[in-house]
Symmetry: C2
Subunit: 194 residues, 2 copies
DNA sequence: ACCTGAACACCGTTCAAGT
DNA sequence: ACCTGAACACCGTTCAAGT
């Protein structure tokens, strides 16, 4: 009935771009490649996304949403806070290893308008802050969450980008790192008065 | 005497590229922009670098060398190991904040041939492993260095890419993070038997 | 109202021709 | 032996013309 119903959608375009990104890298996410993937010509994409940067941003938000869902799900699983933190850490690492290029996108864009939105970032940090509150108390939760997040982000980033090339048991090093941080957070340097 | 002495050099080209990178981002590091910066036309660059990727790689190695020099210099400065680690951590953060785009380059290239060389990486980690050896002993040094490096890399990466948008005292959070890790490394989870 | 081919500016890279 | 203009393939983006 309508003169020309859309042959594709913003969602389909975003999914296609994300798939190409993980398979062949950011440079391969070409307007032409994405267009071919959804069965259309490149200029048609501009009916659904403003420009390539906006498309990359959409992919970035998509990844952030998935990660937040993974981290926030099943929050009632483990009883003590230490175990909950370990569960979160494992989910975090698993997600990044499965979506390395997409995850890198979350921190790659130095220019504004392309980087992840504030709400998406807050959603990512929320479950971590919640667990930390029950470990170090409310007032130290943000600092503790930052320390944990910095370590987890740094570890998986280094792992994914090939920074751990000296072998050794990387799985064990990850588990050990959680122990170090948990121990340090309740150690002498971080009394509840902090 | 010689028919045509080089009007530029690989070093000058690398320095120009690095300067453009820090000022305007990776996308601005164009063969034409670099060429203009060294007073030559774009095709002439190919007498000194194989292609753009090789130039980016040269910049990356340059940055890695500078960072290694910063981290390794003056190793005899502080007496106790904890203070030495704090000094390294501060130098690390200062360097990254001064060379954000160059530092990001060290971990951006997922494709081989473009990422930092193994020797450069080893040089970066060496002073950290050395300090860790005097804190947790030889056998736990590599693991401890990885935990510290992951945290420091993660913290400054998040900071530089705008991941800490909730305000708060970021300087204090960094100092606190060092305390947490130092405390955790000598805590109950990490006895010398490790 | 969406799709398309053609066109434009730009970039990486090659190469024959200059000196 | 290095430099250059011209050329090629490719990409992002725009737009008039189709249906």
């Amino acid at each position: 009935m309508s003169p020309a119903p859309s042959r594709t959608s913003r969602d389909a375009i975003t999914i296609a771009a994300r798939s190409i990104l993980e398979q062949d890298g950011l440079d391969a996410v070409t307007m032409q490649a994405v267009a071919e993937c959804v069965g259309v010509r490149a200029p048609s994409l501009y009916k659904h996304v403003a420009h390539r940067d906006a498309l990359i941003r959409a992919v970035s938000d998509d990844v952030a949403g998935d990660l937040a869902a993974v981290l926030g799900s099943g929050r009632t699983g483990a009883r003590d806070a230490g175990r909950r933190l370990r569960v979160i850490a494992e989910r975090y690492r698993t997600f990044v290893r499965r979506n390395p290029a997409g995850y890198a996108l979350l921190f790659a864009g130095l220019d504004p308008g392309q980087r992840t939105s504030d709400e998406a970032l807050a959603a990512l940090g929320e479950p971590i802050v919640a667990v930390m509150a029950s470990i170090v108390g409310e007032e130290g939760a943000l600092d503790a969450a930052r320390t944990f997040t910095a370590w987890a982000h740094g570890f998986v980033s280094l792992e994914v980008s090939g920074g751990f090339r000296l072998g050794g048991d990387v799985d064990a090093a990850y588990a050990r790192g959680i122990d170090v941080i948990l121990s340090g957070l309740s150690g002498p340097a971080n009394p509840p008065s902090g």
